[in-house]
Amino acid sequence: MGRKLLLDKAHIEGIRYYDTYRNNGGYAAAEKALKSMSPELVIEEVKKSGLRGRGGAGFPTGLKWSFLAKPEGVPRYLVCNADESEPGTFKDRYLMEFLPHLLIEGLLISSFALGANCTYIYIRGEYAWIPDILEEAINDAKKNNWLGKNIQGTGYDLEIYVQRGAGAYICGEETALIESLEGKRGNPRIKPPFPAVKGLWQSPTVVNNVETLAAVVPIINIGGDEYAKYGTGKSTGTKLISACGNINKPGVYEIDMNISVEEFIYSDEFCGGIPNGKRLKACIPGGSSVPILPANLLLKTAKGEPRMMTYESLNDGGFATGSMMGSGGFIVLDEDQCVVRHTMSLARFYHHESCGQCSPCREGTGWMKKVLLNIENGKGKMTDIDLLWDIQRKIEGNTICPLGDAAAWPVAAAIRHFRDEFEWHVTHPEEAMIRNFGLAHYADPLPVVATAAAV
């Protein structure tokens, strides 16, 4: 069994409620931080832990915190990014639904470290039942003096509020989130100034993902050095992976970042293999924006080494032969899936979610969707494949926020690794509508476990 730091108590009945959480060691980290540590010391521990942002970008959290401007007489804010919207990702939902007090405790310690007295949880609007769970947890924490005025007699005050979004992927981008929290359209801001200097209502602001803030609790409990012993290299600690697509056991798994991708997919402790004896065709390992990889490159790097579930290993080979850890949204495609169709659905997603500010993204995403739909429907031309490549190149890096890149990468990777499947759609227009291209050479040489599963 892998070691757990976040979900170690998730199986305890009633852990959602204050009393059970508290009786099982909850709020011990908050007590330790508020009563025996200075804010600087908390930040120091987080730096030592090597914790990297769990929302997708993987930026070192302690470093992000140290950028926060601290002008006299200006309030500072912590905002929890719970706008989980990256296709394939549903880990934060799990944390908030089942371990709300873990998040509240993480928010309390982090707010204390940053000197914030008012903190907002911005949650995607569709998670409409979760604010009730969070608000109940906030009220119970308040009743027990973990929130409100003079927390546990330390003189520190903190209020936490939950704000619901209303359906916009772009609000997961931190400056769009801030705009939305100010009651505006979710249009990302031009940086600089960065939120750490001018964020919410022009005040210094830190925006962190749910899982990142929850991870602060075990870091304080066991210490940054101990936390850094989990994982591998610069991928310290544990990571929540939300696994979905064609696997036997979809769900949220906490992994110690030292296991292989092969083990994650085929072991019964995690995904449990591919259903119906099918073979693995491809996988998007870190949420829909990261490059899709064919089975052979997913399980082994181009150097022939086993690919591991770490930030570095998933990125091994760059975008030519690698992918990214991203948000941990792990999407598995079996041999019956059509990569063109899947890519079209992602292009449609990004077109729908583009905020419309930058023309390369606003126009480019719609254009890619149309071209992909044509190819999928057997109406494509060979030149369309080059056209798609050209469009994605002109979006990437030419927009205010990373949504443009996020829309470009899936299309680029699909063409890079599955060009013959695109070409087959063009040369076999009648068949493209009724059957799939299949595995071709992507799984060749077949991984041993995949062959075993297919028997």
Partner: protein, 164 residues
């Protein structure tokens, strides 16, 4: 329908505004629009939006630009039960297209349409964050997951019996 919040909802609006620093009541716009949509028939008419603007002391245009940006705000009337079915990648891998076709067939409507009895509206939506429990739809406040044709039948029957 006269557009006016109940006493209870007006108190809720006050409570929401109190979450932000003084003068930042515009931040209450998204939550108050949710409240307006729930209170005034499941959609936002120009009248409802103007009312929200007056409550928050902002210009109506500031409300319109927000209401038209976010996909959860309905700018046209919808049926009593809104089926928001996800069709993004992970749901598609698990057969969401078949579920959508089945709903269309069963209810006799296309995407974006409402049944003539005003009970059901079908709307395809992009990823709702339930990829591991696909295919799925949002119905009101909650998600309905692991959808099958039989489950869709059950949900439709459940809605019909509630409506009677």
């Amino acid at each position: 329908m006269a557009v006016q919040f109940s006493e209870e909802n007006l108190n809720k609006v006050k409570e929401i505004i109190a979450r932000y620093p003084e003068g930042k009541q515009k931040s209450a716009l998204l939550p108050v629009l949710h409240l307006a949509q729930e209170s005034f028939g499941g959609w936002l008419s120009a009248e409802s939006m103007d009312y929200v603007a007056s409550l928050l002391q902002i210009e109506p245009i500031e409300v319109y630009e927000v209401a038209t940006f976010y996909s959860m705000y309905n700018l046209k009337p919808v049926g009593k039960y809104l089926f928001e079915v996800c069709h993004t990648g992970p749901c598609m891998l698990n057969g969401s297209d078949n579920i959508i076709d089945y709903i269309k067939e069963t209810l006799g409507i296309s995407n974006g349409e409402t049944t003539t009895d005003g009970l059901f509206t079908l709307k395809t939506v992009e990823c709702l964050g339930a990829c591991g429990y696909a295919p799925m739809m949002q119905l009101g406040k909650h998600f309905r997951e692991h959808l099958t044709k039989a489950k869709v039948d059950e949900i439709i029957a459940e809605c019909r019996s509630k409506a009677n």
